[in-house]
Symmetry: C2
Subunit: 233 residues, 2 copies
């Protein structure tokens, strides 16, 4: 694993981004996603990507000098699910949101993305992309929750950030173990418990059992926080 230098690009003037080149990029990126889904990040072999894409290994290295670069570009090239439609209820929106996500994650490229995200701390660039993806998904959930507040389904004082995180947690946690176990029934039940908890705690009306209940309101501290040469990606 020789450390690659930042070599002067071959490029001297105009570069070609159409025709053959574009086709090569597409084929390689697709092949990488597929191989990631099959083998995961650690076991990904550039030779396999080359074979699957029908593009020579050298060509791949010329465009993406390291494995990380290639994977990073592949993640970047993924298109993520569009905005979720308004189903009329918060519960419906959330269900749809997560169902959409689960479907995505079930595809070959989806599995590739998951396995890459699972992969150990790799390099700052990939870490940054992970954070971006998480932030994006989280923002989407916050949006749904805010809509729920507007509808009166949730009290205004609810900590949206916390709720968004709690709602996603069961999915994330299961993802770590086995993507296969991610069924809708489970997600539905998880959502129901958490939404009920949110409704109750903010209403400060603990039911029967002597469960001590601290607030979920906005009083407590918030939870949220917040290269190299390539020819022509």
């Amino acid at each position: 694993m020789k450390t690659p230098r930042k070599p002067e690009t071959r490029r001297t003037e105009g570069l070609r981004t159409h025709g053959r080149s574009a086709r090569v990029v597409e084929k390689v990126l697709n092949a990488t996603a597929a191989e990631l889904g099959r083998s995961g990040y650690a076991a990904l072999r550039i030779d396999d990507v080359a074979a699957r894409s029908g593009v020579n290994k050298t060509t791949i290295y010329r465009r993406w000098p390291t494995k990380i670069d290639l994977v990073s570009a592949t993640l970047r090239a993924q298109t993520y699910p569009p905005e979720v439609a308004d189903t009329g209820t918060l519960r419906g929106d959330l269900l749809e949101h997560f169902a959409h996500l689960v479907t995505m994650l079930g595809t070959t490229t989806g599995r590739g993305v998951v396995r890459t995200l699972q992969a150990e701390r790799t390099d700052p660039e990939v870490e940054r992309m992970k954070r971006e993806l998480r932030a994006e998904q989280r923002a989407r959930r916050c949006q749904l929750l805010t809509r729920g507040i507007a509808r009166g389904e949730l009290a205004a004082g609810v900590d949206v950030d916390l709720l968004a995180e709690l709602l996603a947690a069961p999915l994330v946690a299961r993802l770590m173990h086995s993507v296969e176990d991610l069924d809708r029934v489970f997600l539905e039940r998880a959502i129901d418990v958490i939404l009920a908890g949110a409704a109750t705690t903010v209403a400060r009306a603990p039911q029967r059992g002597a469960v001590a209940v601290a607030g979920v309101g906005s009083r407590a501290p918030k939870v949220s926080s917040k290269k190299r040469r390539t020819r022509a990606p």
Copy 2:
């Protein structure tokens, strides 16, 4: 990455498990845990373990033929927190349980364990250990919940398996991102929301907002599944 065979062990008859050998095993396992915490699984180098432990690389390979074997043995050698004391309330028990866990995970070896568990699908043996660890922790949580039911803090119909999973999920999910962010306040608030949700949903008394609530009781389908050689570790 040559695939190692399962060679005939050097051993012919009696083996030595005391004195020098025992010291070697201890030093190597400690060094491995430390290196795992520092570099993670993927970047772990046997040479580094050898250097840190002061034991020769060859010796390490003789005992643990592959990197996986070494890491696997290291995980196995970890001692996990003892049973949680009874604090008198379910909330207190859970809080203590998770606080204990967080403390553990903060140590060098703890970080090593986490990073190994995070690591991509490695080999069946490590996967098995992951499952075992998870099952063990989950059982502990179920135990606490059952105690809570006995105390009358939770309705008898509650789905203990589901609850245990939901309670652990926020911690697991955060663990994936950054161990540092795992503060007690967060865990406390998460626990409170989920416990409140459990109390409410089982009581079938949806609050104000039109949050539709499916049961958490025992009516819905259950979630749970259950279902080399080494010289002398």
